[in-house]
């Protein structure tokens, strides 16, 4: 059979260093490495290599490297090799192209076009190692006004609040899309960091019940695993309307991934496809959303804030305003770079808008309508480093959701094969021989190290600005300047150009 598509990578083995121990053979879930007919010599078939680097990172002699396979096409700026290969793949299968992880295409990354301010002469900068620096973040609806204080006590009734020790939370990844070990890693890390992990729409595995105080539980269109205890054993509840990687699209967890444990957590038959409809079929309007928010508040005795997660799409500001008015306590906006376990490639790469613009527009709209304090704004959709988080907070976010970064800390190499169910790092898989590879004892330390490092950097950047509390940074767009942006982009971001 003609393949029509050249292989993507070459596995290069340094024969002088290879000791034929076979570690690569046993680690490759895609069966690229194998023992030759003599049973002793390790050889490789590069055609299936996805560049996950499992073999490279575990090889005890550093004998392996992965190179991009070079096979030039006739130059064509329009019919690029990627486009031609996608056509060939569809010609072979007749199917919708599927991809995983976030949108990798060359759209502008506004974080890289925004610069931060620092204090010089006219106001002092602060050394976070010598002076207190507050990054504690409190999410939830804030009271419209404070009523008189009586005998030293406020008479204001406070809506339910959630306190985080860092403005960084872990975004939704369901048990099913990721392994229990991966979820457990995030749960342990969330507890130790004083932040929250998110169950996604896969229900809460009984083994994670010890960490339910650090869980955000999702109610999505499939309503998988939702019951009273699930809702009440949580820090807050998140209604998932959309996801940045695939706005307007539902979810589909293939039956192969629905193991006994996944089926129990989701409350669906084993081996059946878990299909989340594109819309919630009881939410066709803001008024319908209000009813669901109200129902969830009733189910939890008004003790939990209710969050609504929406994907960043064209009318995001108006939608966020509507969601706030529907009674949500927290609005999560997920940008188009947000990750996923599986999404149609065309949707992932073409639908939605950047989180930077969506966040700025939504924050401004809520402020203009004087309802900003009714909700906390959480930004999601690809925060790669601490400065991205600082910029998001200055654009108006109360907190940020991160997922891809902690996955990378666990071992993910962004090979974008989550949808195959084979993850050589034990993250996006349910195969016991692969999930075993992710030991939460190691992984939770790595994730905590990452977030602690970011916390330090956030404090350092804030100190440089002369700001000692994340509350003073929030929505403080004067701390931002654009570089190489058009007037329209600057207007939407609500920031001045560098030099102004």
């Amino acid at each position: 059979m003609i393949n029509y598509i050249p292989r993507e990578f070459d596995i290069v083995r340094d024969r002088e260093r290879c000791i034929d121990c076979g570690c690569c053979v046993r680690q490759c879930g895609f069966d690229c490495h194998y023992f030759d007919d003599d049973g002793k010599t390790v050889v490789a078939d590069s055609t299936r290599c996805v560049a996950c680097h499992r073999c490279v990172d575990l090889c005890p002699t550093g004998a392996l490297s992965i190179r991009k396979h070079v096979c030039d096409y006739k130059d064509n700026a329009n019919w690029t090799p990627r486009i031609q290969q996608e056509i060939c793949r569809q010609a072979a299968t007749g199917g919708v192209l599927l991809s995983a992880m976030g949108n990798p295409r060359e759209y502008p990354i506004y974080w890289d076009k925004i610069l931060l301010n620092a204090s010089q002469v006219t106001n002092p900068s602060i050394d976070p190692l010598r002076e207190p620096m507050e990054i504690r973040t409190i999410l939830g609806r804030k009271p419209e006004k404070l009523t008189a204080v009586k005998k030293g006590k406020s008479q204001t009734e406070m809506p339910p609040q959630v306190m985080l020790e860092t403005p960084i939370m872990f975004s939704a990844m369901s048990f099913g899309s990721i392994s229990l070990n991966a979820q457990k890693t995030l749960a342990i890390a969330a507890k130790n960091l004083g932040t929250l992990f998110n169950t996604g729409e896969g229900g809460l595995h009984p083994e994670l019940s010890d960490w339910s105080d650090y869980a955000v539980v999702q109610v999505a269109s499939g309503r998988f695993g939702v019951h009273k205890e699930y809702l009440n054993n949580s820090k807050f509840i998140e209604i998932k309307i959309g996801q940045g990687a695939k706005p307007g699209i539902g979810g589909h967890l293939p039956g192969e991934k629905v193991t006994v444990e996944v089926s129990n957590a989701r409350m669906i038959p084993e081996g059946s496809d878990a299909i989340s409809p594109a819309p919630h079929h009881d939410i066709y309007s803001i008024e319908d959303l209000r009813q669901l928010i109200w129902s969830l508040k009733q189910a939890t005795n008004n003790e939990k804030p209710i969050s609504v997660k929406i994907a960043a799409v064209h009318n995001i500001a108006a939608i966020a305003s509507g969601v706030a008015r529907a009674g949500a306590d927290i609005v999560v906006i997920d940008g188009y770079r947000g990750g996923t376990g599986a999404a149609p490639t065309r949707i992932r790469d073409n639908v939605g808008i950047p989180i930077e613009l969506a966040l700025a527009a939504a924050d401004q709209r809520l402020r203009d309508e004087s309802i900003r304090s009714r909700v906390s704004l959480v930004a999601a959709g690809s925060f790669r480093c601490s400065s991205d988080i600082v910029k998001a907070i200055a654009l108006g976010a109360d907190a940020c959701y991160v997922a891809s970064a902690p996955l990378i800390a666990m071992g993910c190499h962004m090979c974008q094969k989550c949808n195959t169910g084979i993850c050589n790092w034990g993250i996006a898989t349910q195969r016991p021989e692969l999930t075993r590879r992710l030991n939460p004892e190691i992984a939770h330390e790595r994730v905590e190290n990452l977030i602690n490092a970011w916390n330090h950097e956030i404090k350092e950047i804030m100190g440089g600005m002369g700001i000692n509390s994340v509350d003073s940074l929030r929505g403080n767009r004067l701390m931002l300047r654009g570089i190489g942006l058009s007037d329209k982009e600057l207007e939407i971001l609500g920031i001045k150009h560098a030099g102004e």
Partner: protein, 146 residues
């Protein structure tokens, strides 16, 4: 005494414990040389049994009352009273392999003489240090030494 314990729920069948055991018991202490240059080839004292579905690394348990010590006719196999480590004196070993026959878990390996896990002479063993998934741990759980 501190011993090496295997946790099969985290064993990923990579067999790097074997690689690093062999290296640590080589002359050069270099992985590539240990495998490709040295003669006689050094022997790994730990073995992983099983396949990708289920695997576990097995090495000497340094028993309280070791059968190998009792069986050794040359007085080469001894248990150190202080450390509890069971080791073989390779200059005394005559290679009869009785120890191999009596070891209940098959932890004696064959080279010119009998060779076995010496717990890397009391330092953190190479197998534990290099296990990429913490499937091997070096723990004191009691027993093994007086």
């Amino acid at each position: 005494m501190k011993k090496v314990y295997a946790r099969e729920q985290y064993c990923i069948n990579c067999r790097l414990c074997e690689v690093y055991c062999k290296t640590n018991h080589s002359k050069s202490k270099d992985v590539v040389k240990a495998y490709k240059k040295e003669s006689p080839s050094p022997v790994s004292r730990i073995s992983v049994y099983g396949d990708s579905k289920a695997s576990v690394a097995v090495n000497c348990r340094h028993c309280d009352d070791p059968a190998c010590v009792k069986a050794c006719i040359a007085g080469a196999m001894t248990k150190d009273k202080k450390t509890g480590i069971v080791s073989v004196n390779e200059s005394k070993c005559i290679g009869c392999m009785t120890c191999l026959a009596v070891c209940p878990i098959g932890c004696i390996k064959i080279s010119n003489t009998a060779v076995k896990c010496d717990l890397c002479s009391g330092e953190e063993p190479a197998c534990v240090k290099n296990c990429p998934n913490k499937a091997l741990v070096w723990l004191e759980v009691g027993g093994g030494a007086k």
